[in-house]
């Protein structure tokens, strides 16, 4: 699902193959593909253009280290640039103002402001032990105030009531006063969704900011947003002094290129990701994750790096030579691969870096323990069995299971996994683990050890 850029790059990679240096010429085709991939990920065009320019500047002339192909090197440059634009790891909220510190929420209709208000209230209460009051200045959307009241209740936050016939400014003022009297640490002011082309509404939210002098003014944006988000971001950024961005609905499968656009246009850091409808669905922003998701390839670069670091190059080459000669991938090879996995702390550590995968489900069976068990199973086989897995019939399975202290179904599972892997290795008979892992991304059934 998240293999867009990889797909596109593999189309273009021919022009990069076998060349030790990235040149303007051999990179052009690839950058075109990168451009398309970014557009497909909903990064806004002007942002794509300046991004590509910077990548080109960085890439052209760069020496390619011996361990990476020029294609991999370029991916790494693209990725690094993306992470750099995305900004540092989230520093969370800056609420050191004189209490009550005010957080003002702003954004388009349906972006997730009210839900995020509840999530932040919960977050601040539970993680930072703050007392929180919320109020709604949304006097337009039917039952918006009631929605926040319900959400506040779920979040365990105080709710300052407001009425639809009040002005947003009057609501904000009263809430600020109430928050002072109640000595709460934080006041979060939810606002109505508004279109950036609606001058009256933009003026209204500016007035709210002037009045409240918020410690944080957060722009809430839907991760499914398209190209027009660049206009929205610019208008909100120009109207308000944004201090942060919240990217919502990232539990879906949108590529979220809007994150890059908004970050670049407003300059405000992305602080949180909305990852579900419930109030616990909030996460601190991780640039790596979002960058990889936009590129549509999992955290491939750090995979590449880790593999480069830890995999025994000789082993990998030996395997490659063997496969090239047409000899199959046998169980002894599998054991080799598993040992390399173990050296990297198990696949689950790598899995953590892949966005879009349900981590819990994928982790099952990929931990150190499972890898150990698999090594034990292979160790209980005869060399002939390792070389020719087809020999392993029912009685041999029982013997191997007994010898390794496992069950017959464990042996079956291992054999099945080996068969899958052998098929995969056949396809990718050149190259080592790094390449193979990239190929397997997204195809791994739960419980597959590597």
């Amino acid at each position: 699902m998240f293999d867009n850029l990889s797909d596109r790059l593999s189309q273009a990679r021919a022009s990069l193959l076998g060349k030790g240096r990235i040149t303007e010429d051999n990179v052009r085709d690839t950058l075109r593909q990168v451009r398309m991939a970014l557009l497909e990920a909903d990064v806004a065009l002007p942002v794509v253009k300046s991004f590509i320019d910077r990548v080109k500047e960085r890439a052209v002339g760069a020496e390619v280290t011996s361990s990476l192909t020029p294609g991999q090197a370029l991916i790494k440059i693209i990725h690094d640039e993306l992470v750099e634009v995305m900004g540092a790891e989230s520093k969370g909220l800056e609420l050191r103002a004189q209490p009550p510190a005010v957080i003002l929420m702003a954004g388009l209709q349906g972006a997730g402001k009210t839900t995020t208000t509840g999530k932040l209230a919960r977050w601040l209460r539970e993680k930072d032990k703050k007392s929180v009051m919320v109020t709604s200045a949304d006097v337009y959307r039917p039952a918006a105030i009631l929605q926040l009241e319900r959400v506040a209740e779920q979040a365990g936050a105080r709710f300052h009531p407001s009425q639809q016939d009040e002005t947003p400014l009057a609501i904000a003022e009263a809430a600020l006063e109430a928050a002072r009297l109640a000595l709460v640490d934080v006041l979060i002011v939810d606002t109505a969704g508004r279109l950036h082309v609606d001058d009256a509404m933009m003026t209204e939210v500016r007035a709210l900011q002037d009045h409240l002098t918020p410690a944080e003014t957060l722009f809430v944006v839907d991760s499914m947003a398209g190209q027009d988000a660049v206009h929205a971001a610019r208008a909100f950024g120009e109207t308000l002094d944004l201090t942060g961005v919240v990217l919502t609905k990232t539990d879906g499968d949108a590529r979220g290129g809007v994150a890059l656009s908004v970050r670049q246009i407003t300059g405000a850091p992305i602080k949180f990701l909305g990852v579900g409808e419930k109030l616990d669905g909030l996460e601190a922003f991780h640039p790596e994750r979002v960058a990889s998701r936009i590129l549509g390839m999992g955290d491939v670069v750090s995979l590449v790096e880790q593999v480069e670091e830890k995999v025994d190059r000789d082993q990998a080459e030996k395997l490659a030579r063997k496969l090239k000669k047409g000899k199959g991938f046998d169980l002894a090879d599998l054991k080799e691969q598993i040992s390399q996995m173990q050296a990297m702390g198990g696949l689950s550590a790598l899995m953590d870096k892949m966005p879009g995968l349900p981590p819990q489900a994928m982790k099952a069976g990929m931990g150190e323990k499972e890898l150990k068990r698999q090594v034990a199973i292979i160790d209980s086989m005869t060399p002939r069995e390792r070389r020719f897995p087809k020999l392993i019939d029912g009685s041999r399975k029982r013997r191997i299971a007994a010898g390794s202290g496992t069950q017959v179904q464990d042996v079956n599972r291992l054999l099945k996994q080996h068969a899958q892997m052998a098929r995969m290795m056949k396809k990718f008979s050149k190259g080592g683990l790094a390449k193979m892992m990239r190929a397997m991304k997204g195809r791994m059934p739960p419980g597959f050890p590597g």
Partner: protein, 326 residues
């Protein structure tokens, strides 16, 4: 149209002319994505490859999507080779033609037939797309056409979703059937359809909770709602209306695919086109699914809904505000 026999145009349809003018004003505020700065790009010259590439870019930035864009650009290129594109006007006409070819077949307004009764519309879509608001607007429109309407509060999940819908019910003087928060949406909708049968109501519009198409259990829940309605009338729901947010990018097509797979979409409404979003994702959806596009939403009030018509939609989309169109 469903009401061609009614003696007078309904309240909802009266301000038609003014409506399109308003639509044109409201749609696509800011410069037109296609025609912006064309004159500047082509200072007197004939359109060339570079110009075509620029047009390609513009289609992409309108959220039209790679597939549809490639088709449109392909036809542009063929004409360029045949030397048929003399000026920007010809280019714009060609693009319009290609877009029209994709969109015109989807120009199929929602028509509530004489029978069966009640006629059931199930409204689905991702979170925050504009389902509830669109229901309020459709209720007004159908009421204006002389239909009696009942609304089912099938969103039992989101805080105050029922109350939000009830406000729309009051605005339209239409009953809203609801249960307590957390109730089974299928049960709510079943009740509503049953009650409509008893009360001889013409149309039931069922709201549902917003859900991401990646959430399999929630998509299954939707399929169940559909199945349960089918127990009362095997052909119901008669319309499954997918609401798409007009500012959504490439994900709109994936949403349309998944909702279609889960429940079978029979119509689409696209909302929030009163901003500067181009709604170009509609092109990709139309091209792939060839599903009727029923409505466009162009604001938050009850009358801010219009029947989708490909021609005016494209004109509004392509008409620049002051930018030279050659």
């Amino acid at each position: 149209m469903s009401d061609s026999r009614s003696p007078e145009p309904s309240a909802a349809e009266k301000p038609r002319k003014g409506f399109f003018r308003r639509l044109r004003e409201r749609l696509n505020q800011g410069e037109s994505w296609l025609t912006y700065d064309l004159a500047h790009l082509l200072p007197g010259g004939k359109p060339d490859e570079a110009f075509i590439e620029e047009m390609e870019t513009r289609l992409l930035t309108g959220d039209v999507g790679v597939d549809a864009t490639e088709e449109i650009i392909g036809s542009l290129e063929r004409k360029l080779w045949r030397d048929e594109l003399k000026d920007t006007r010809a280019v714009v006409a060609t693009i319009r033609e290609s877009l029209l070819e994709i969109l015109a077949p989807c120009e199929q307004p929602l028509v509530v037939p004489e029978a069966p009764r009640p006629w059931v519309i199930l409204v689905v879509g991702v979170n925050g797309a504009g389902k509830t608001t669109t229901i309020g607007k459709i209720a007004r429109r159908l009421g204006g056409q002389g239909h009696s309407v009942l609304i089912a509060a099938g969103d039992t999940f989101r805080a105050a979703a029922v109350e939000q819908l009830q406000v729309w019910g009051q605005r339209n003087d239409v009953p809203v059937i609801a249960q307590q928060a957390g109730a089974d949406p299928a049960a709510v909708v079943f009740d509503a359809v049953q009650s409509a049968q008893a009360r001889q109501i013409d149309v039931v519009i069922a709201d549902t909770a917003g859900r991401l198409h990646t959430q399999e259990n929630l998509m299954e829940e939707l399929a169940k709602v559909k199945r349960v309605i089918g127990k009362l009338d095997p052909r119901a729901p008669h319309e499954i209306l997918l609401v798409l947010d007009g500012s959504t990018g490439q994900n709109a097509l994936i949403q349309a695919r998944r909702f279609n797979e889960a429940v079978g979409v029979t119509g689409v409404a696209i909302t929030k086109l009163d901003g500067s979003a181009k709604g170009g994702s509609l092109v990709a959806v139309a091209k792939e699914l060839r599903v009727p596009i029923r409505f466009i939403g162009i604001g938050e009030s009850v009358e801010d809904l219009d029947v989708f018509e490909a021609g005016p939609f494209l004109d509004a989309l392509m008409e620049g505000t002051g930018a030279g169109t050659g």
